[in-house]
């Protein structure tokens, strides 16, 4: 029933795109500069156009948990939720996110390419409307690079305490860290997940991480690494490339960014199941508005995340207040994407619990 309602609602919507009603809708996102960019690029123009008041909820980090609880209660209070690709798959699997017919709900590209072709492979789940491409990468203090040594430009520099002494910051979970550790233990990029499946592979990765363990601060929130870098608490640390961009360009901190083996990931929208027909319609209307070619390109004015549509890339312009070209700061820029690492969603869905237990046990030792 849910699926059919959704389809009915969406087809009705395509006919009468742009329902104007003075209501409010709750949009869930990650907070900080990222939410601000969405506010500027999507929410404000949308509110202006339709009069719908948009309430921001920065709960994306707990989206799966909260949606599950809301669904159990049959009282879903969120209308549109911004989640990473992995969470979208999880939510879709559990029936917590609505399946979406991309070509019917979303706008086609200006040249007529259908939405599903325009997004291409980035539609990792039927429930997922991709929005941006981001990378998890390393930032470092340029003023703390030892004299006579060139700035770090290889992922393995993270593990090289001799050339680059100083504290590191890594995320407090196995994802990404294990892959990097294996890459720097001599495992080929394409073999990483096969090796990580074995006990020996896990031991190898943890042994590599052991070499920097006592020099590492483990972060859990996106703001940690930028704050630690700004305070000079660490020499280098992993975080999202958009956070580093704002630290370097907007706040002028002496920090550099490293583009090597950065982990490529996706972020986008889902619509929860269990919404009333009217709210579903509203949500779909918002998605139609917020994910067209121009608006996705607009978001890139405020934050350095790559728009998920192929057709948006040429439209990426200059930063809204700094006036610098944004394209070279995008993770999708060819120069930056020369050596990216592809994150394996499927693999992590299986091994997450197991590796997490091992990783946490290792951390606590």
């Amino acid at each position: 029933m849910k699926l059919t309602t959704a389809l009915l609602a969406t087809s009705a919507l395509v006919v009468s795109a742009g329902v104007a009603s003075a209501q409010s809708m709750t949009i869930v996102s990650w907070g900080g500069a990222y939410s601000a960019s969405q506010k500027n690029a999507y929410h404000d123009p949308y509110s202006e156009k339709t009069g719908v008041e948009i309430i921001n909820d920065d709960s994306s980090a707990e989206a799966v948990a909260k949606l599950r609880a809301m669904n159990e209660a049959g009282n879903v209070t969120w209308d549109v939720v911004d989640v990473v690709g992995a969470d979208a798959i999880r939510l879709c699997d559990e029936g917590l996110a609505m399946e979406i017919d991309h070509d019917e709900v979303l706008a086609a590209a200006p040249d007529g390419t259908s939405a599903s072709d325009d997004f291409g492979d980035l539609i990792v789940s039927d429930c997922f409307v991709p929005q941006i491409v981001y990378s998890t990468t390393f930032g470092y203090r340029t003023d703390m690079v030892p004299a006579g040594v060139e700035a770090p430009n290889d992922i393995c520099d993270v593990f090289d305490l001799e050339t680059y002494p100083g504290k590191r910051a890594l995320e407090k979970r196995p994802i990404n860290n294990m892959e990097w550790a294996l890459l720097c233990s001599g495992v080929a990029k394409e073999d990483v997940y096969d090796v990580l499946e074995t006990e020996d592979g896990i031991a190898m990765a943890l042994a590599k991480l052991d070499t920097i363990k006592d020099q590492t601060i483990w972060w859990s929130a996106g703001a940690d690494t930028p704050q630690l870098l700004a305070d000079g608490e660490i020499f280098m640390g992993s975080t999202y490339n958009g956070r580093l961009f704002s630290l370097i360009e907007e706040q002028g901190q002496p920090v550099g960014m490293m583009w090597d083996a950065q982990v490529f990931d996706l972020d986008g929208w889902i619509v929860p199941t269990g919404l009333s027909e009217e709210r579903t319609k509203q949500a779909m209307d918002y998605l139609f508005f917020a994910t067209d070619t121009q608006r996705l390109a607009d978001q890139a004015k405020y934050i350095s995340y790559g728009p998920a549509r192929a057709s948006s890339a040429p439209l990426v312009g200059k930063h809204a207040s700094l006036g610098i070209d944004m394209a070279p700061h995008m993770p999708t820029d060819p120069a930056n994407a020369a050596n990216t690492f592809l994150f394996n969603y499927e693999w992590w869905a299986d091994y997450r619990d197991d590796l997490d237990a091992k990783f946490q046990a290792w951390l606590a030792q």
Partner: protein
């Protein structure tokens, strides 16, 4: 004493029962007054008691229940579980064809209801890899049915038509209500929604006897379509599983002969299907083809071990153990974490309690021995942190303790510490201990102060005038009298410390976090709610035990708050 009551009893016996003003016997009157008083007191308390029970105690009981709850296996794979009962994993053989057949039909419904991945996630906590096994299988289930559906439709186009199939399955004559009811019950358990109500279909008893599997598969389809999707079963094309079931029924010896004599609606369709003479579906080979892990005994053992509706699995996990087919066993070394975390929580709480005693005792002593006005003024210094937002104090400690923070800056400025060798005081145990000692110190000072206020200063003077040294006077006279205060403060601080969450989260790093942080992690990120609840239950038990001790030693009534 005895004689008085004796004599009054004699008096009472002599002059009959003593009477109250209104003429009722005094004893009765007093008893009634007492009862009235009790009732009035209870009536005053009742609203709050009910309020607390509903808003606070019930939620906690509900959460604790999750630590043993495990219905998901038996509601998602009910028929599989039943057939799996006889299987013995120790032989090293995957279960037989009947189990795989049951799994196929259970999975099909579960996949339609999108419940199979939830079970996959649940079982993945116990056995790595089940999550993707279920997800992958869910996607491929249609394939088997399609292989059979095509030849059927080729033989008679109407076999693929919803209305025609509906008529065939409805048949004539009495309907098999038992089948329908059991289907409803099963789907209700699976989805958690009510399946009662008109569904526009009743399986014919005759057809259900003739084609039992098909009737069951179609009933699943019909109930689900009507109650979950909200469509009429007759308008929708049957699920692929129905065709697999039909093939299975037709390949069962004796069915084809019976079909020849069947005359109900759609008899000619059935005959056409029978003429296709499909082979018996090989469910096991199908699942093996999807993923050979389905033949892995370990996966099946896990399903069997976690089949019961209630499990001790989460609790075992919470103490670093696990359920295996041969009973319980310790987890691998590299996965043990919770016992260590519990021990660390206890140890750090003890250290924090001890530092609070160390810092709180002199301050309380000073406050108790200063003139009232000065003491009240100084009391503000104790109460101000107590009243200041926890987050403010925690972030203040972050500002103070970090390597580029205030304390390090001052030390470097004073030249006590080299700029390159700044002290590491945050993101470790030290950071947590310092910040939490600060936060909990008022909880130690206040009870200590109230006890010390009651100790007359003359005792100390008396001891000294009798020749005791300062130390002896303090240690032998004053200190013993202040022990109740230490006890009260310590238990209070300890109880509050072992449940702390925010402060360790912000200043604790990896080595300074508590069990609470792990509970929060399981509840909001890993979504292993059962494990989170089990850890919570253990923590709660520890706290309640301490609470009970507190009640015994101090009495709950004697909790005092500043001011």
């Amino acid at each position: 004493m005895t004689s008085t009551s004796d004599s009054s009893a004699e008096q009472a016996a002599a002059s009959g029962p003593m009477l109250a003003a209104d003429g009722t016997p005094l004893k009765k009157s007093i008893a009634r007054a007492l009862r009235m008083q009790k009732l009035r007191a209870l009536a005053l308390i009742a609203p709050l008691l009910i309020f607390i029970l509903v808003t606070f105690i019930a939620p906690i009981a509900d959460m604790l229940f999750r630590s043993v709850e495990n219905q998901i296996v038996s509601t998602t794979l009910p028929r599989t579980i039943t057939t799996l009962e006889g299987w013995d994993g120790s032989a090293g053989e995957a279960p037989g064809e009947d189990v795989f057949a049951a799994l196929y039909y259970d999975m099909f419904v579960a996949a339609e209801a999108k419940e199979h991945t939830k079970l996959g996630t649940r079982l993945n906590y116990e056995q790595t890899g089940i999550s993707s096994l279920f997800r992958k299988s869910g996607r491929k289930l249609d394939d088997l049915g399609k292989d059979y559906q095509k030849p059927f439709e080729k033989a008679a186009k109407d076999l693929g038509d919803g209305a025609a199939f509906h008529a065939l399955m409805t048949g004539t004559g009495p309907s098999d209500s038992a089948l329908l009811e059991s289907t409803r019950a099963r789907l209700e358990a699976l989805t958690g929604d009510s399946m009662a109500g008109e569904i526009g279909f009743a399986p014919g008893a005759e057809i259900s006897a003739l084609l039992p599997l098909t009737a069951a598969a179609y009933a699943d389809f019909a109930v689900f379509t009507a109650r979950v999707d909200g469509d009429a079963p007759a308008d929708e094309d049957p699920w692929e599983a129905v065709y697999t079931a039909l093939a299975h029924d037709l390949a069962t010896p004796g069915t084809i002969e019976k079909i020849a004599s069947y005359t109900g609606p759609g008899a000619e369709l059935l005959q056409a299907a029978a003429d296709v003479a499909p082979s018996l579906p090989d469910y096991r080979a199908f699942f093996e083809d999807v993923d050979e892990d389905w033949l892995d005994v370990a996966n099946w053992s896990t399903i069997q071990t976690y089949a019961p509706n209630y499990t001790s699995g989460y609790f075992l996990n919470a103490i670093d153990m696990q359920k295996t087919p041969d009973g319980t066993a310790l987890r691998d070394d590299d996965e043990r974490i919770y016992i260590m975390l519990f021990k660390r929580t206890m140890f750090m709480s003890l250290v924090i309690t001890f530092s609070c005693i160390l810092l709180g005792y002199p301050v309380a002593w000073l406050l108790a021995n200063l003139p009232m006005r000065t003491a009240n003024l100084l009391m503000i210094l104790v109460l101000l942190p107590f009243w200041t937002s926890l987050l403010v104090r925690t972030s203040a400690w972050k500002v103070m303790l970090q390597q580029q923070g205030v304390i390090n800056d001052v030390l470097v400025w004073l030249g006590l510490v080299e700029d390159t060798a700044r002290l590491i005081m945050i993101n470790n145990q030290l950071g947590t201990i310092i910040a939490m000692t600060h936060i909990l110190l008022p909880f130690m000072i206040l009870p200590l102060y109230s006890v010390m206020q009651t100790i007359p200063p003359t005792y100390l003077r008396a001891a000294k005038s009798l020749g005791a040294t300062n130390w002896t006077a303090f240690w032998r006279v004053y200190f013993p009298q202040s022990i109740p205060g230490i006890g009260a403060g310590s238990i209070l601080v300890f109880i509050l410390a072992i449940g702390y969450y925010i402060t360790p989260e912000i200043v604790g790093g990896t080595t300074g976090t508590f069990i609470s942080n792990r509970i929060a992690y399981h509840i909001s990120s890993s979504l292993n709610w059962g494990l989170g609840a089990a850890l919570g239950a253990i923590l709660l038990a520890a706290v309640l035990l301490l609470y009970w001790c507190y009640d015994q030693i101090v009495g709950i009534d004697n909790v005092k708050l500043g001011g």
